[in-house]
Point group: C2
Chain length 302, copies 2
Amino acid sequence: MKLPSKVKIVDVGPRDGLQNEKGQVPAEIKIGLVHRLQDAGLKEIEVTSFVSPKWVPQMADNAEVMAGIQRRPDVRYSVLVPNMKGFEAAVASRPDEIVVFGAASEAFSQKNINCSIAESIERFAPVAEAALAKGIAVRGAISTAVGCPYEGDVAPERVELVARLMKQIGVQHVGVADTIGVGTPKKVQAAMEAALKHYDIDHVSGHFHDTYGQALGNTLACLEMGVYHYDTSSAGLGGCPYAKGATGNVATEDVVYMLHGMGIETGIDLDKLIDAGKYISDFLQRKPNSRASTAILNKRAG
Amino acid sequence: MKLPSKVKIVDVGPRDGLQNEKGQVPAEIKIGLVHRLQDAGLKEIEVTSFVSPKWVPQMADNAEVMAGIQRRPDVRYSVLVPNMKGFEAAVASRPDEIVVFGAASEAFSQKNINCSIAESIERFAPVAEAALAKGIAVRGAISTAVGCPYEGDVAPERVELVARLMKQIGVQHVGVADTIGVGTPKKVQAAMEAALKHYDIDHVSGHFHDTYGQALGNTLACLEMGVYHYDTSSAGLGGCPYAKGATGNVATEDVVYMLHGMGIETGIDLDKLIDAGKYISDFLQRKPNSRASTAILNKRAG
């Protein structure tokens, strides 16, 4: 196995995770989660989104959350923006990075954001340009990169197309996202290979959901390709809107447990990470959706 | 990736799984589970154990269960035996294979079966001899092959020792078992390498627990070594006696989902397998402990 010696984790729990939770989480709790994640050693946190509260009421407190974080110079705070209006609102909150997105499935693009893939990229072109002009980094998320709830299997060529379009508008880094968690190691590698036709190994991420329990296998498969950026979600926050009651984003704890067990550095303190996940799970009145966390919390309880 | 094109799954749910469940499961339900597993295409099922009911009351109906199965000629029915007395009781029920066991951790051997590793192997020597004389296959399980609840990390040399001892007494096939689920891909590969010093690739299995969510990554790591036998448990039956409320054996459904997604044949019908897991989970009045099953059952429910 050729493996990276270090991995960079982006915790997307506060945004991608909490966005899919039913209950409204107060800004102070979100801020508390971000603080605990940075205390645990996370160096990049996807904090919130600047999508219209009509569509995503969970993130209506975006500006308040961003303003409330005691920032650290070595941590990158990113926010998701859907369009120019969202970007303008986001700028005031001084993100280090914005996240734009495009689906690899045409049907998903239509159902999710009511436009074609090509139109969605066109919409993001001025956003990326404006961000870069202001010195804000631009990351792109390629959703439904392996499978789509409407179309089924998604061909790697579709991922390549979106990666090419994102490259053209100046997106600096792309994440290959298995939005519905149906991917398995070889399929995920094929999707990642497609992205690597337009981005080098330093500028691609794996973003896996554990809906079918496949996320760690998929992560290992990408580690073996040398991929060293992964998006994960503290306590496995976020369900799957396409399968009620199912798991969404892979838990940061499970990924970090695997990486440390393999001798791969993350800079993350697993015990503090588990505390962060416990904090938000306690607020949500449920157990962390992470097997490593469950096992370690049980062990602590003795 | 060099990967096997076919994988053989041993479903250990009726024995290793149900043995760790709190409630007593009636023989007819166990038989119903075995029938559903073979209908789903499983070709080897670990049915029960012939351990004293004083120690494992859950398996006191061993003879009744074995007698009640409508056997198929192409399915192998195995039972676990702890000693000569257990073997003699098992013989009457005509198993195709017996399973003997030894820990790679001295402390675990002492606490679990109250004797040293060497003593446990000595105890199994006449059992293996008698089984082979009767034409019954003999499989060995090397428990705590990666980590031990009492000793912590277990060195691969310990696994090699147990594999050598098992080879000496005629055990034909060994399983490398991560009994407490603490293993990660490189550690599991090292343990498997150690077993492969005494057994060829056709005679080793991976037996992984998902306590820390690592089982599929570990399975993938072993697939990449060419290992093509895995023990798994329908519906993830069986908790972890060393971490209350934690996951035990990896769910057959999750492993099969991954294998099929990778184009690896198992001969198993995933939908029927999910039905089998649902059957026993319904009896236990809980949801299957399998993410693939959860996602697919949710999808069926629409």
